[in-house]
Structure formats: structure tokens, C-alpha cells
Amino acid sequence: MGVRVKTGRTLLAIALGLSMAVGAAHAGSYPDIGPLPQIKINKAKAELGKRLFFDKRVSGDAAISCATCHNPKEGWSQNQALSDGYPGNGHFRNSPTLINAAHKKSWNHDGRIGTNLNDQTREMITETYIMNMDMRIMQERFKQDPLYVKMFKDAGYGEPSNGSVRKAIPEFLKTLTSRGAPFDTGKMSGAAKRGMKLFKGKAGCISCHNGPLLSDGKPHNTGVPENFDVFLDPNNHQAFIAFTMFQGIPNYMNLKRDPGFYNITLDMADMGKFMTPSLRELKYSAPYMHNGTINTLAGVVDFYNRGGGKDSRKSDQLKPLNLSNKQKGDLVAFLESLSGDRLTSSEHVWNKSYPDEYPAIQNWQHARN
């Protein structure tokens, strides 16, 4: 338990105090919140991944890149309730920040990818309503870009290939790790420290938001209301229908709610459950919740202070919290202390331009494809 060195001891002390204050409901011991582990990064691979991440040629019609919906300037997400999706359709969920994505064990709000970022990268690139890319075309596009040919080779991947794209982008994502968050640097304000106490105590947030990511990585139903724009805008609704059809959700045409984790289990007990998000790096990635229905962190705190939303299957861990305005303010201060640098410099952003067209391979007739 003495792992987290300096902060560990303070946290332990606080945790002890809290469990007494909170009583039975929150008395369980949860994985400590604390700094994230270091990840080893291969520079050449990450650099290649960076160029790929910002390259629109990764999408079917070469109109959007990963950064379109995970924009560094918008907290590596999109500052709108629902993600853009692919041209010609919309989306039905909020784009989450990618900072710390490499630390997660599952991805997407319903956690449907639980293997690795390689699979998640493939999912995003090939999914019809997201990037709609036939990766065989993508591979040939990159074999036609001399800089990529060099970068793939320098990264040790040989020639450009689908498989290497699926490795290089995750390598880049590893570089998107919390940096300089007051929570990690120990420079938390008094309000933030008080908020942390509430977080672990009276507010009980820690029962789901625990561990270095401040997430238990599990699905819960907290009663978040539906975002009606999913259904009222046919562009969004078509993506939702395509998704639920593909997932094998019964009666998907009449569905008026996002089934969440039910996608995976088709067990009604899981209807409306969504994965606990990390609370790190939320300062710049508003709005919040899986469908972007809450605009501010204060709004999120209010939501949980009311005991969450309305749903017959709502988790019974959620109860009205009776927080005072000051306590709510402290909780928000703590949440903000979990955000650090925006990672918007050229260290993380590919600022160089991409070629407008693909140069022809010279002596094509005799070159090996």
C-alpha cells in the first residue's frame, strides 16, 4: 500500500477518516486515487502515430481525421453534446477526451472494446458512421506518400500497412497522458483538497471513480437523461439505428433510448449502463456524460447531488447527497485539479501540412508494388 510514496500516506490518512464518516454505503475499500503509472513510449512509432492521427486520409472520403472529433483545442474531444461522426451522418454519443485513453482497459461509453487500443483504432477507422475507411485503401494511400514510407520504415514497421497503423496510433495515444495536474503535482488549492475529502467521503464519488484513472472501469446506470437530439435529428438517428442494428439490439427501430452496456450482454439488467468515465482532464472537454447532456462540471455535481437521474434500473449506490453550495464548489475545484496541461504544442500535435496529392511512383512498370 505504500506505493504512491508521498501522496500515498496523506491519502491513506484521509481515506481512513472518510470511511468512518461515510458509513456503510461507502465503507468499502477502493483502489487508491493517485498518479498514473509511466508508460514506455517508442518515439519513432509515436511520431508516426501523431502524423496518422491528424491525417484526413485515414477516413473513407479523406474529409476527417481522428482529430476532427478528438480535437486538441477542445480537450482532445469535441465541445458539443454529440460527436460529429462521418460526413453524411451524425453521431449519438459525446466524444470523450483521449488524454489517458492509453491507461484504460476498455473503450467507448459502453465499453464494447475491451481488448486493446489496436482494436479500438480499427473500430474507429472502419466503422461506417465514424471514419468509414476500407483499410485496404488506406494502406495503399500511405504506400503512395513518400514521407510515410520513410516513417514506417524508421519506426521498424517495414512498408506501410494496416496492421502498423493500428499499432502506431496507439503508440501516439500513449503520449497523451496527464501532465501537470495539480492533483499529481501536489499543488492543489484548499478548495480542491476539501473537495477531495468530499469526493472520498460524503459525496461517495470514489465508489465508482477510483484508482489512478478515477474510474472503476465498470458500467453503471446513473439515470442520465436521453439526449433527444439523437432521435430528433435524422443524421444522428441513422447512426444510432445502424449501430443498434449491427449490435443485434431487438426492436432497434422503435428504440427511444441509448441501451448502453446492454449492447454487449443483451441483458435487461444492463440497460442504460455506461462505463464510469475517468475524471482526469475534464476541464477542457465539456460537455459531459455519454451523451453530452450536462454542460459544466458544476452541473454534473448538481446531477449527482440530486441522486442522479430517473431510471428504474438506476444504481442504488446513487442517493441524494445533500451537499451545500460551498461543498459543491469544493468538489468542482477538486475535479478541476485533475486536469493538467492541454497538450496542444507540437509535441503532441502534427502541425505540418499534408501533401495535396499523391505523387506517382516513378518507373511504376518495373517497381515492385
Partner: protein, 412 residues
Amino acid sequence: MKKIMKYRHAVLAASISTVLLVGCNANATKESTSAVVKAAPAAATTMSMGPAKLEPLGPPPIPADNLQSPGKIALGKVLFFDPRIGGDASTGCSTCHEPDQGWAWAEDFSRGYPGTVHWRNSQSIINSAYYPRLFWAGSASSLEKQARSAARGGVAGNGEADLMEARVALIPEYRKQFKEVFGTEWPLIKDVWRAIASYERTLIQLDTPIDNYLKGDKSALSEEQIRGKVIFEGKAGCIQCHNGPLATDLKFYNVGVPASPRWQDDGLAQITFRFEQYAKGMTQEGYRKAKDDWGYYYRSKNSWDKGKFRTPTLRYVVYTPPYLHNGMLDTLEEVVDFYNRGGRMEDGSTTSFPQNKSDLIKPLNLSDQEKEDLVAFIEAFSGEEILVAKPELPDYAPLFTKAELEAAQEAK
């Protein structure tokens, strides 16, 4: 004339041996043997008209599992022009089959999905109803399957069934019509293809000069065209492959078309070229080495099928330049010159697979006059240009009202 005679003898010999073989395979009774003897002169007569004969075009075959109806045709027409039947809602059937470009695309390669280019010439929809197999290498066995493949292909429509089906379901006018035509509560993507195919089966042309001529109106062809017909059926030997009502024998040949020059100097075209090798299931070695379209080989995997493509119809070609599977030739005159040189371009270049080049393709020694006559005759396979007003596309509308959503929210 001598060449033709030779050809006839060869075919005659071939048909006799075929009959013999058939005779052997069947119960080789005396009767069947005598049938062979009798068949010989009969074959000779049929040869002059025989399989190698032009015929007027009749009504198209209608598959029993997708009968025509006015409602289905009308629905198919709108769907044909609707770009939402594709990936990013920009590329529908009519995008590469533009009515005012001969229901095709007037460039060597068809335009592709945004961000790509295709790798073969877009074929006209007009009279496509008659092809038992679609695409240049015959990879689709019905118009329904062709529509599906084209809408989904990465360098064509790049659409996915689930999303396209969802789009159609969110268009109230479509929902209404699909229910009327197909009786389903919600539109199904397979019925999208069926409706489009039904519409395409109406895009036919039966009243061209050659049809009228063959049906007895001897004034339907000009003197020049009648001279061209003689050359077509005789000295030039076009009839060997371009015969029957569709002016195609529907078989696959290597006629000597070289690799497209686009692949030499166009990066985007090189991308698609390699993608196609990959997508068509080539071996690693094949993918690495291919420098030309292997055509029918992709389907048969027989080396002798490299560079073979289905004989295209000559109907409606006046409106569908450029020509050949890779659109290398811009005019019918150039096509005639190409065959007159024995399947060679002006610079002498020919197929990348000369070992597979059809023996039927030989220098023709046509005079300028003969070539002109031939072009004039080929033009007789085209009637009036078929143009249609593009239909107005129905709009999306939300499936649920806000009140319904609120009620569902309350019931959670």
C-alpha cells in the same frame, strides 16, 4: 473474303466435333450417329446466319423473384438518383452513371468515391437489363447484386448496408412506398437493390436503326451503314463476338487492350490499382507484380484468362465514350482503328498478356472508306439519347415526436 471463309471452315469443323462429342456423351446409338451426318450441312447453313447473327432486341428478361410493377419502378428511379445510397451521402448510382453522360461517366476511369478514383470505365445503364453478368469481368450475376456491390465498393459508393438501410427508413416517403411495394414495415436494403434493378430494367432501347432494319424496315439504315454491316459481318469479323440481340456474345476475350497509361503517372490511380489487387484476393506475389488489370482472371484464377473482359454491347455506344474496359479510346473511329491494327494502339502497344490475346483479333486491312462505313454502322446501334428529369429527392424527418421521447423517458 478468304479470311472469313477460313474462319467459317474452322468453326464448322469445331461444331462438327462438338456434335460428335455430344453424340458420344449421349447414348451413342445409330440414330445419333446419323444425326451427326445430317447435322453437318445444317451446321454449314446455320453458320452463315447461325450463332453469329445480329437480332433485334426484345423485352428484357425479368427475374421471377423481382417482377416489375409501376410502384417499384418509380421507387427505384428515385433511389437510383439518391446519393444517400452510398457512404457519405454524396455518391449514389447516378453519380457514376449520369444520364447526360450516356448513363456512364465520360472519363477513361469512372470517378470514384470522394478521395479515390475508380480503375475501370463506367458502363452505361442503358440495356444493362440484358446482361446475365454485370461488371467488366462479370463478377455480379444480376442487376440486384451489381447495385449492391457498386454501392458498397470502396472506390465506388463505399456505403454500408446498415447505415444505408437506416437512412431509407428515416425518409417518410420511402417508408410509405416500400410498404406499398414490398409490404414490409421498414424498408430493407435488399429491396433497395430490387427497386433500383427494376428501374434499370426500364432503361432499354428497342427502336434503334438496326432494330428497325432487322425487323424489316430496309430504309432504317443508310447506304453507308448497309455497307458497314457487310464489313461488320464479313471482312472485319466484328460479328464473331458482337452478335445476337445485344450485339455481344457475353463471353470473355483478351482483344489486346494495353494497360491504362493512368497507372504510369497518376498516384491516385496507382493507389486504386494496388487496392484492387488486394481486394480481389490476389496472391502476395500477384499483388506485388501486377501492372495491368487481370480481368476475368480474378474470377477464374486461370492464367489464360488474364486480360480478358466481357464483350460489351454496341448498343447506345454513341453516347458512352470513352471506350474499352479502361476507357483508353475516345472515339468509335479510334476503336475501329484499334481493331484494324489487330488489337494494337497507334504506338503499336498491345495487351500485357499477349499469350492470351484472342486469335480472332488480326489486322483487318480496312480502307478508310470501309472504316467510315463501319463506324456509321456501329452508330446504327444507338437511337435517340435517353434523358430523364432527375426526380426530386424526399427529405428525412424525425421518426419520433418530442412528446413520444418524453413519454419514453418518463417510463424508464
